[in-house]
Amino acid sequence: MLLKLAWKNVWRNRLRSGIMVAAMVFGLLGVILMVGFMKAMTDNMLDNAIKYQTAHLQIHNPDFLVNEELEAWLPRADAMAREIRGISGVAGVTVRHVVDGMLASAASTRGVRINGILAEDESAVTSLEESLVDGKFLPEKGRNPIMVSKRSAKKLNLRIGSKVVLTFSDIEGEVSGAAFRVCGFFKTPSTGFDEGNVYVRRTDLAGYTGLNESHEIAIRLEDGDAVDAFRQRVEAVVGDSGIVRDWGEVQPILAAMQGTMGISNAIIIGVFVTALGFGIINIMLMSVFERTREFAMLMAVGMTGGKVLRLVVMESLMLGSVGSVLGLLASSLMIAITGTVGLPFGRMAEGLGAFGLDAVLYPEVTMATYLGTLGMLMVTSVLAALYPARQILKKRLSEALAERN
């Protein structure tokens, strides 16, 4: 009977309770969409970074990490790569010859990182080949092909087949350079990466630098969540020859973003739930005070303070549950829709490139977030009932009975 009484009491003032429920539903829609969007954003940034830039693991000469110089090459690079390729669960390994230099066209010049790669190995590790928007992906034939980003091409006024000159220091410390012919344009989600990288055949580059070694090994795993396990196996192969780093160490900002996203989401939800809690306290206070005489009557006929408290808590919890469940259902529906259709950014997409984001994001909210929010709301609803219940319980019975309302 207490349950029934509580439920009916909640809907005594339909308008008031309805407004509270509506506030919860719309609030939850906003907060959950925001949380889902933030998660989509960080996940997308991470995915893109891993896909196009860092892969899962990288190996370098420790000196290279301090100063990216030509001499800081990685001993036994190709042999290690072969061995790592043999580990099951490794999807691809690419060995790069890397040097910083200048890219010059007839129109302009810019500083770039020149990546000397083996086309086939690179495609097993990064999505560079899929990001090709025009031309060919470093063909095996032809003299000195070079792949530049669409963005650089625009700035340097290049077309497929245009001639560019790369300048860099060779292993003797002398300025060296060569003419390359643009074979293709790539376009990754990150504008910064696009502007700073060009790709040539490793053999071509090694020929000009005079160093028949490589600097960087990048590894892609079949299971991106198993990085830690594989890292140890890769380290066993590498030994003292180099340093193995995972994507988080290569791009610590991204790792930090992922690490703090959970906390920042919890804070957003926490602030929102607290605000709702005050709303519920307010509603429960009004509802309880206008029933002072009714509670007095109940206590006069033998209802204990504990039962009165239970009644008020139940009412608050019921109100909170209806709002939370409806709100979370509406939110999950909205996340399901936007998560499938995607949120397109249209004109803003260009700006998002600076963060390495795709133009369409797919909001995603974990079950744990839904349940956590629900749990927080339930606890808050219970807490929000305590103060109003106390207000009613501390009145003197004879005075409460004499009150007119």
């Binding site: 009484l5 009916k8 006069a300 033998g302 004879s398």
Partner: protein, 237 residues
């Protein structure tokens, strides 16, 4: 059943410059089956007296002994149980739960006693039949007239089989016709259930139906007389 009141005193605001002695050294005895009206002018202390008899308020002095138990010595928790099991309350403004039906309003107080569902329902139906609302069991108070609501309240007061019923101005909000109807029902139940009724009133119509009238003035019993209760047939409208 007996209620024995000795030296009962209630002073409001005792430590201020304007203490109000609402009940002033009252001695009183009420026996089983009595149908007692406490009458007196406004502010004479009727409500205060009834509250102390019902364990709703505590006296400053004196004792209220009910069947040998001095209820002024009970703890708050014991008092709640005492009120629940031993006293039926009827209020001037009916004080039903608006969201529950007539039947549920009566059942609810029995459920507080921890009685079984079937027992509660059987007794509630019986009592609502007794007060003439057998066909209104599932009406909520808002769908009942004032007199009907007060009859539900009478059924509710009797439901826990209390030792006595305290009614503070039960007919103040009712018209003459309804008042007599209600008094008839209270008298019948007084006889049928053997439950003592004590009610306060200003209303001469009620007094003429009481078998004992206690006149209260300035917190004291000014007069305590046994009236010749009229039978329902003799009443004058």
């Amino acid at each position: 059943m007996s209620i024995q009141i000795e030296n009962l005193t209630k002073i409001y605001n005792p430590d201020t410059d304007f203490p109000v002695t609402a009940v002033n050294h009252v001695d009183l005895q009420v026996e089983q089956d009595e149908f007692v009206a406490v009458m007196g002018p406004s502010g004479s202390g009727k409500t205060t007296l009834l509250n102390m008899m019902g364990g709703i308020d505590r006296p400053c002095e004196g004792t209220v002994i009910i069947d040998g138990t001095d209820i002024t010595q009970l703890t708050d928790k014991e008092l709640i149980g005492f009120r629940r099991d031993s006293i039926g309350f009827i209020f001037q403004d009916f004080s039903l739960l608006p969201v529950l039906t007539a039947l549920e309003n009566v059942e609810f107080v029995m459920q507080l006693q921890g009685k079984s569902r079937t027992e509660c329902e059987a007794r509630a139906v019986e009592l609502l039949n007794d007060v003439g609302l057998g066909d209104r069991l599932s009406n909520v108070p808002g769908k009942l007239s004032g007199g009907q609501q007060q009859r539900v309240a009478v059924a509710r007061a009797l439901a826990p089989k209390p030792k006595f019923v305290l009614a503070d101005e039960p007919t103040a909000n009712l018209d003459a016709q309804t008042t007599y109807g209600l008094l008839d029902i209270m008298q019948q139940l007084n006889e049928k259930e053997g439950t003592t009724f004590i009610f306060s009133t200003h209303d001469p119509r009620v007094i003429e139906r009481a078998r004992r009238v206690i006149v209260f003035e300035d917190g004291k019993v000014a007069e305590d007389r046994v009236a010749r209760a009229q039978k329902p047939e003799d009443r004058t409208l």
